[in-house]
Amino acid sequence: MMDELRDLYQQVILDHQKAPRNFRKMENATASVEGYNPLCGDHYTIYLLVEDDVVRDVSFEGTGCAISKASASMMTAALKGKTRAEAESLFEKFHDLVTGKLEVEQAAGELGKLAVFAGVQEFPMRVKCAILPWHSMHSALEGDKTVVSTE
């Protein structure tokens, strides 16, 4: 199989899409945002519980491709316990990673497990899939929108 494909669909990503973490509705969320990619039908709701500027809990539900689902799942795992500023900074770094602005070696240090999404760099058409949950999370943090579209 092609290396690029292997890099895109790494085992961690496949695991998360098969068994997504924090895949549930959150009744006591302080913010929730729907993210939608009308082109391919990816559709998620991201829930946040933010207290004292800290992300106490984060979850999601919805449907979409493997990349978007794994991205949402791994994002929820990465965000728990982060401050608002830390969460925003992770979003920026993740964005730079998938759009190829951040070197893979550098990413491993700054993004930890999320660095597996480096494979998306080779597939520009899939950047939107990887970023959709992050955009939604970002809007939920800012509390300014209830629906985000990547189109």
Partner: protein, 418 residues
Amino acid sequence: MSDPQFIPPPVAGALDVESIRRDFPILAQSFRGKRLAYLDSAASTQKPLRVIEAISGFYTSRYANIHRGAYTLSELATDAYEEARRKTREFINAEDEREIIFVRGTTEAVNLVAQTFGRMEIGTGDAVVISAMEHHSNIVPWQMICEEKGAVLKVIPMNDRGELLLDEYEKLLTDSTRIVAIAHISNALGTINPVRDIIELAHRKGIPVLLDGAQTLAHLPVDVRDLDCDFYAFSAHKMYGPTGIGVLYGKRKLLEAMPPYQGGGDMIRSVTFEKTIYNDLPYKFEAGTPHIAGGVGLAAAIDYLSSFSRDAIIAHENRLLDYATRALLEIPGLRLVGTARDKAGVISFVIDYAHPHDIATILDTEGVAVRSGHHCAQPVMQRFNVPATTRASFGIYNTVEDVDQLVNALQKVREIFA
């Protein structure tokens, strides 16, 4: 891995596909070291050399603006453009050249009818009838005019195979129905609709019918007089011609009664600041400098298509459709979306362990060009309760090898996801 038992034997008089493939230089390419299997002709067909050369030849030696110059070049260009109109008339057997309106494509053709005929005929409480399998371009223009006029949009339902329910359709034809607008062939499902019955039922109540023929001309012959449709819309780029040009056919009586669409040059006879007198058909609907070279390309595409026997084209595409349908159904977890008994060369499917978007990415790395998404028919996706499908569609240049490449690539999808 092609399974010979699935390959129906070629018939006498069949298309010489190897020679056809040489007409399409783009198909000889490889991507990431993989032979290209182009299976997205329903979105747009590739262009044969004959069309490419007609366009470049026109720009090289015959180009000027049309209809207004008294010099030789302008006359040559005008002749070439009007020749395209004559060929189009003949191609769909319209009665009169003036019934052929050149537009940008199917989308513009439908908008034109909605904004002129629709604006004139549709009033408060009236109805427009479309079907559950329409492309957005045959939904939204009607929605817009219905909203503006306080009219309702009624939708013919379909069964689980993706076939329209004609009994239900009949019930929608009432005294308030002003027009019926239906896809001849569905781009998302491949269904060939029983347009003859649809037209006859509407005409019994005096209701005109527009057919969206975007998917048709590359596959089936169309005779607008035999069908007796009132409007017929299609795009050159889906029948081996260039983008940016398409056709609205309309019955002359209807077109003459309709107000103009856009205002501008060419659509007028005389203009003063007090009053403008509109030009005759077809120019009344062709404001501004048209896609002249597009017309030349369309004419070349018509010539190209006409150089083959239609029966041979249909037989070839049906053969691929049968072969691909059987081969795909062998794949565990794969479900076809659209299994109408009368179907064109379009196969939409979903696989229970992989999302269409991931499928398309993996197929692309194997050189297979298919489309994943809603195919501009979101209501169809909703009807079948899928977020999207993967769609393979065939043209005259496709081969059993293309289908095998698709099936092999789907094995890769299985390796990764199943």
